[in-house]
């Protein structure tokens, strides 16, 4: 027998964004759409277990949400003027060429609009597209529920008052706006993968799972976009190592020491396939595709091919010559050409990366392997002082203690 709760959980995961997006389009208001979707799912939770599961749960939910929205608007008809004021600008004219005309895509773009603060973009995306509840999002970002609720309410109010449109951007803007959506998804992933804070679990698989799910949806909507494909591959190849990345003692395990048997073979094979797909396209890769390719090399065979990794970082530096990219390239150069060569390159970044703990951690590791104990110890101290992730602090502390004086 099919359990109605399982079906409902699945429908929530798969249909929430579509229900919100459809109602938002019809009624021109995100607030109405969010409330109506929540009411529709509550009604389903009440009726499905006793009345049975409708043949098409998605359609049932959309229809129910639409009715709920109409009820709500009737109830609030006295506030007609206010409602009209909060209408989303919805464009029914021709959309950007080659872009899928899907309301969920509009939902992504409106939630990740650059006119909203980055924290609001993250919260709104998780709520409207991801369907997470306000308490869930508040817990994920370690803020009070009321604070998170206010953040989402303010963002919706700004969308309505400032006239942020519910639209797929024009062709000449779409790439930049997709980058904006990807930046939000990457932030969610990294908050899960590199969780910071003394009382936080070192890896937050609720957030990494959500980031992957949202990116998968975006990839479904924009299958031809190389950077979206690259981002999905990057997340899969990163998340594949999640279990192996933290030891049973709660300590970070560096890539080279991880038990590869613990990696998720399914995620790695999917990630590799996506990277191969982009390579086969013959198009110049963007930033996320290069990062995905680097992770593909790291997860291929028994030991990474450092020459290939350096070559990929060379391409990445062309696109983004930030000190962090140069640090990662210098580390790869050290592995390829010798630790002293790498260290010399790392040291050139001293002024720019003083406050960046991976800089000190990389120096500490190179100095330790070169037998320069006192300098290594000092670098570990600096890294520990700046690192926020509990597993990373535990790992760095043990290494520092092993180095000795």
């Amino acid at each position: 027998m099919i359990d109605a709760r399982d079906v409902l959980t699945r429908a929530h995961r798969e249909e929430w964004a579509r229900v919100v997006a459809t109602v938002a389009k019809r009624f021109g208001n995100l607030d109405t759409a969010e409330d109506a979707a929540a009411e529709a799912f509550a009604t389903a939770a009440e009726h499905w277990p006793s009345d049975g599961i409708p043949p098409n749960p998605g359609a049932w939910l959309t229809t129910t949400a639409t009715r709920k929205a109409i009820d709500r608007i009737r109830r609030e008809s006295t506030r007609d003027a206010r409602h009209r004021e909060a209408q989303l600008v919805y464009d029914t004219e021709a959309e950007a060429l080659g872009v899928i005309n899907d309301d969920r895509l509009r939902l992504f773009f409106i939630c990740c609009h650059p006119a909203l603060g980055i924290e609001a973009r993250v919260a709104l995306t998780l709520r409207m597209v991801g369907g997470l509840s306000v308490p869930e999002i508040a817990r994920a970002f370690l803020v009070q529920e009321t604070t998170m609720g206010a953040r989402i309410t303010r963002a919706k109010a700004k969308i309505a008052a400032a006239g942020i449109p519910y639209r797929v951007p024009a062709a000449d803007d779409v790439q930049r706006r997709v980058s904006g959506v990807l930046a939000v998804l990457y932030l969610i992933m990294n908050e899960g993968y590199l969780a910071s804070g003394p009382d936080t679990a070192p890896v937050r698989d609720d957030l990494t799972g959500e980031a992957i799910r949202l990116t998968r949806l975006l990839h479904e909507l924009l299958p031809e976009d190389g950077e979206v494909t690259g981002m999905l591959a990057l997340m899969l190849l990163t998340d594949a190592r999640r279990v192996a990345r933290v030891s049973s003692a709660g300590e970070l395990v560096p890539l080279a020491d991880q038990d590869r048997g613990q990696w998720s073979a399914a995620q790695i094979s999917e990630g590799h396939a996506l990277v191969r797909e982009r390579l086969a396209s013959g198009m110049a890769p963007g930033r996320y595709q290069l990062l995905a390719a680097i992770n593909a090399v790291h997860t291929d065979g028994d030991a990474p091919d450092w020459a290939q990794i350096v070559a990929l970082y060379d391409q990445l530096v062309e696109l983004d010559s930030s000190p962090i990219v140069r640090l990662n390239r210098a580390i790869a150069v050290g592995e390829r050409d010798g630790l002293d060569v790498g260290l010399a390159q790392i040291d050139t970044l001293n002024d720019k990366l003083q406050q960046y703990h991976p800089y000190h951690a990389a120096r500490a590791d190179f100095l330790r392997r070169m037998g320069r104990a006192p300098a290594s110890r000092a670098a570990y101290e600096a890294a520990i002082g700046l690192a926020g992730n509990t597993a990373e602090v535990a790992f760095l502390t043990r290494r520092r203690d092993e180095v000795g004086e």
């Binding site: 003027a81 400032a162 006239g163």
Partner: protein, 111 residues
């Protein structure tokens, strides 16, 4: 909808002749596209006067009402169907006047 666009500046009367030419060209484009409502440059904030007419007698005093490192050196009011259109236009406006801009929605009149 209408948007007020403030031109952000930190130096008094610092506009140049080249900027003025570029702004004129941009304004013509706004007018041609039906986006133009109004625009003007503003004198330095130190020239402003505060008015308080709430009491029995009006009180006048030396302005500005907020001392700030940056202020509005001018403004546009534009007409645009939505924020994306407004932002795209004003990205050009920012380039023309060589200043950062603040785009702020004007409240629509009560229905």
């Amino acid at each position: 909808m209408q948007y007020l666009v403030n031109v952000i500046d930190s130096r008094s009367e610092s506009g140049t002749a080249e900027e003025a030419v570029a702004i004129d060209a941009f304004n013509e484009k706004l007018q041609a596209g039906g986006h133009w409502v109004f625009a003007a440059g503003l004198a330095d904030p130190t020239t402003s006067t505060l008015v308080d007419g709430r009491g029995a007698e009006p009180v006048f005093s030396d302005g500005p009402f907020v001392e700030a490192k940056e202020w509005a050196a001018g403004f546009w009011i534009i007409e645009a169907p939505d924020l994306d259109v407004a932002l795209k236009l004003m990205a050009e406006g920012s380039r023309a006047c060589n200043r950062r801009l603040e785009v702020r929605p004007v409240l629509s009149p009560p229905a």
